[in-house]
Amino acid sequence: MRVPPLDLKPPSHAIEVATLGMTMRFGSFTALNDVSIRIAAGSFHVLLGENGAGKSTFVKCMMGFYRPTAGQMMVEGREVEVPDPRAAHDLGLGMVYQHFTLVPSLTAAENLVISRNDVPARIQWDRERADLAAFMKKMPFTVPLDVPVGRLAAGEKQKLELLKQLYLGRRFLILDEPTSVLTPAEADELLGMVRGLTTSGELTCLMISHKFREVTAFADEVSVLRRGEHVGGGKVSELSTADMAAMMIGEKELVRPAARVAVNGQTVLAVSGAKPPDRSGLKMIDIADLRVKAGEIVGIAGISGNGQMELMEILSGQRPLEQGTVQVCGTPFKATRGEARKFNVRYLPEEPLRNACSPKMSVAENIFFRDFDFADGKPKFWLDSRRMAEQAARLVGEYKVKTASLATPIAALSGGNVQRAVLAREFNGKVDLLLIANPCFGLDFSAVAEIRARIMAARNAGAAVLLISEDLDEILELSDRILVMSEGSIVFETPAASADIGEIGKHMAGHH
């Protein structure tokens, strides 16, 4: 028999939520093993853990997306059943996902209204608008309500996700890496708001994060998951970041980026006066002058959607160049396969599974993409499967790609391993120019450290590296020179050694 919920009205203040012995098995694989965590009412609790540590599984069990194999949820000290997300919502539990769940073509107002449970059959926009205005007055921040959400900046979208949860009367909020797409200033603003709501007792918050800076600045407590087990936690004030990192990774050693070797090389990549239209076709991208020398990493910082992807698309030949020139080693470069081979240009685009792989083809075939029709300086007609298997086996071993076999479709690999496989393919042989976009997006930090070390090693070996990234920490760690892109053009340049984060952030946000 199902016990009916005790009161259907959402609670009016922050609530306490706890799990008891939460266990989740998928077949023989245990994703979550006996996890008991208590999140006090009005606290800001952070869930730390590497990729695959079971954080997502844990919160999905809490929200009713998964039915846990064993274990119990407690809300306000009462045992509750959460068979589906709707039941979780009725209890006042809500979640802000890593990817946006807003509908891009609907306006913010439409998104908010349709997310309610009691939408009337005919929506009276006058009344809804008045209600929304009244609601917005009570909130610490606002977003434009009448613009399609697809046109909002990432920071505004994330704020809207948060507003939506509050609009729906949620009192316990799970945030899944909410700041991964925000600038440091935006992230601080957003988390500051959440912090304010928790201290005033309106909200309890459980946040999944990789960023220690955010944990120490905003959270009260942490819980750490490793391989599905709750391995520790406690008050943030009593833990150092080293303690937390140790709990997260256990006894594994991180690869640190190799030391920087001073290389003073020739200009390899030169872009001047490039002016393609951007994705929406409404604005123009304008890259007046961009040069990358051999042996240097030029980092391009910027909030997503400010023209970085268009720049990458020009350089990788995915977007026609209407004006201006792209030159590699002094000759015009159109990103054909022949040119890329001749000048040893290699690409590491973002979302490698989509942009650099053929998902259903095998790991070996994907690793062989650069060489399948070319060997020893001559084009080949027949596919040499023995050479393919040998090369793939060697690279898979060298780059520690975890795969069931070489014949596994590459889509079956985890994100970090797809990136390692692409890295293996692109770094194989001599590299003179490396074009990289968001190489570590969504990877856990042992994979991140390894990939960054490889990039640094390529630089030290004399490659010119262009690194486009939305992760400012990554830019600061790797770059020799930092450029900031905003609204389609490069607005700021600074040597990394003397970079001022505040100033970079200001330019990223468009204040220049």
């Binding site: 997300p85 509908v103 891009p104 073509s105 349709i114 076709g281």
Partner: protein, 307 residues
């Protein structure tokens, strides 16, 4: 004044054509617009249209009421839409392939059941003579508006209003733009698509009834000259807006009348070429308004053709 109005006959014929020929386009494209806004493409509407024409004609013949015939056509279309929606719900099924199969199935089924109705004459749908003020027979003929044409105009505006101002409309848009977001909202994506496809099918059925019960006004196997397929293209051309679908249909209907109109004023060379005017026009407009590098901002995010 004589009955000969010279070159004025051409624009008049185009206007008349727009009114007469566009109705099936309006119904099919507005219906397809609803289906596509929910994230699915139903290419089978050509089959639905032909089957609607047959069933509408048959029921009108047996009952003597063209309205019952139209209703029957809508019901038949609804069933076809439900069938499409239901099959697409199954895993690993492609909506375009199912659409093509249903197109052939619908046409074939209509020819099979429709054989006995090629000879008999069914009553026509009534028209409103809005050209009564003029003494010119050409004007009277051009402005003879069928009730379904007026209903089609109202339908396009109503659909547009519905997508903006009702729960159903917003739900359809959510499902069409992001299935994940819809699931997060607790919307049953498949059910919304099923009924959107069914509604699209019903409207296509009505479009078919117009063909057999008003213009050309008889049932035979060549009744549709690909209107069902062209209407699907019109939806893309109209950028998924029902009101734009209406305008596109009018444009298409008008262009279709260009050939006969020019012939009637004595332009005989390239006669068959003018019959291709609507197709050339659509092709030209599609090319002119498309772009290789720009995203189509109004396209529903879940459509399999743009994914």
């Amino acid at each position: 004044m004589t009955d000969d109005i010279g070159l004025w006959g051409v624009p008049l014929a185009i206007l008349g054509g727009a009114i007469r020929v566009s109705t099936p386009f309006i119904f099919v494209s507005v219906g397809e617009c609803l289906t596509e806004r929910s994230g699915r493409i139903n290419l089978g509407l050509e089959g639905t249209l032909v089957f609607g024409a047959m069933s509408g004609y048959a029921v009108a013949y047996h009952t003597g009421s063209p309205w019952l015939g139209t209703l029957a056509a809508a019901f038949a279309g609804l069933l076809f839409g439900l069938l499409h929606g239901f099959i697409c719900k199954l895993p690993r099924v492609n909506d375009i392939a199912i659409g093509i199969a249903l197109m052939i199935f619908g046409t074939g089924l209509a020819f099979f059941f429709g054989k006995p109705y090629v000879q008999p004459v069914a009553p026509d749908l009534p028209a409103i003579p809005l050209g009564f003020w003029s003494s010119l027979p050409q004007v009277q003929a051009a402005l003879n508006m069928n009730v379904l044409f007026i209903a089609g105009i109202a339908l396009a505006f109503a659909a547009s209003w519905m997508l903006k101002n009702t729960r159903v409309g917003l739900t359809i848009r959510v499902v069409g733009d992001s299935a994940d977001a819809a699931r997060a909202l607790g919307i049953n994506v498949n059910r919304v698509r099923l009924w959107s496809t069914a509604a699209g099918g019903a409207l296509a059925g009505i479009g078919g009834a117009y063909l057999s019960l008003y213009y050309p006004g008889s049932w035979n196997e060549g009744i549709s000259s690909g209107q069902g397929l062209m209407a699907v293209a019109l939806v893309i051309f109209a950028r998924w807006s029902p009101v734009n679908c209406l305008y596109a249909s009018l444009l298409f209907g008008g262009a279709g009348a260009l050939g006969p109109a020019l012939q009637s004023v004595g332009v005989t060379s390239g006669y068959y070429l003018f019959y291709a005017a609507p197709y050339v026009l659509t092709l030209g407009l599609l090319v002119a308004t498309s772009s290789r590098t720009r995203a189509m901002p109004s396209a529903p995010g879940e459509l399999s053709i743009i994914k």
